[in-house]
Symmetry: C2
Subunit: 204 residues, 2 copies
């Protein structure tokens, strides 16, 4: 879509917005015109928050979660259990586990999953740094908390093989019926696993 912009500022904003994933040029134009209709302070706040985000955030040197400081708030928190590390795919998954309020250990963010199809190998992820963290000897348990997909299982198994001869317990998330889901709509593999790994009644 070639557009006859009567303003170069508008054209430039549309160009930048349309680089975002899932935002085409038509949506970018709609967003830009929306920003123009709103208060100046609102548009400036949006732009500034994006600049601050990009300039102010880097990655935690220990767990590779996003962080405004060298060590992220989780790794820096002395109240958390530094002997347990939960291995997750990405930053969003850290948020998901934090939202459960059930976990008091640390994290290790891989930055993706091994995916032969997408050309992602183990060396492109934070797996070596995980092995180094475990080699330091202070970690008692590594929880592999990856999605139960092909790539997730592959990555989990690869990490398991890298860690199994080290002095650390390796666990993984329980597989079972999702809370609130009906048995009728649960797939048979999940259902089978939930039978095999059944737990004493009232134990959750």
């Amino acid at each position: 879509m070639s557009q006859e912009f009567t303003s170069s500022l508008l054209e430039s904003a549309v160009n930048e917005l349309s680089r975002l994933p899932g935002i085409g040029r038509k949506t970018a134009l709609r967003l830009a015109l929306y920003i123009l209709r709103r208060q100046e302070s609102e548009g400036v706040a949006l732009g500034q928050s994006i600049i601050d985000l990009r300039r102010g955030i880097s990655y935690c040197r220990q767990c590779h979660n996003i962080s405004e400081t060298e060590l992220c708030p989780v790794c820096a928190d002395a109240m958390r259990d530094a002997s347990t590390v939960c291995v997750v795919e990405n930053v969003k998954d850290v948020m998901s586990f934090e939202n459960t309020r059930q976990y008091n250990g640390l994290y290790h963010v891989l930055g993706g999953l091994i995916s032969p199809v997408d050309g992602v190998g183990p060396d492109m992820l934070e797996i070596n740094t995980l092995v180094e963290r475990v080699a330091e000897g202070n970690i008692k348990e590594v929880i592999i908390a990856l999605s139960p997909t092909m790539d997730g299982e592959t990555t989990g198994y690869y990490i398991y093989r890298r860690l199994r001869d080290m002095n650390v317990n390796i666990s993984q998330l329980a597989r079972g019926v999702s809370v609130g889901n009906e048995i009728e709509y649960t797939d048979e593999i999940t259902l089978g696993r939930s039978l095999i790994n059944r737990i004493p009644f009232g134990n959750d």
Copy 2:
């Protein structure tokens, strides 16, 4: 969705992004994490372009199109025919007509359509300023170029009534079969009008 953000910068960017129309908190988070994965310069360019857009653009005092200057480039262009004014709903429509490269007159941007359902009355639109422009006496033709919808027709008729006793020709867009559309899929009202308003063969 309450989210446990480990970074206040991320939280603030997600809050700002999710104010945009059609962007919920999940999409906002996805966009923010995308911005974090890209080059710093790219994120800063996006943020800055939004700030520049909002700070740098105002509205043309004559036609009310967006403009970086007091008179927009169209109104300021001495090569354009200042005796013809095309009345459009919004800034996007100016772009659409400019894209046709068939129009050499000026515009008048209403900033919306009269819509009793949405509570938009004539005084909330740039209709009085259009009447004043015409009253100055230099305009020979006003082209009403509004969408053929209920609100568009209402607004067009209201403008027609305001202008009909003034010394100006009032025209409207031709209604007919859309170029590239099949007759089979053209609604009967449009088809009927295209018969009544038929033009000499080869005349377009």
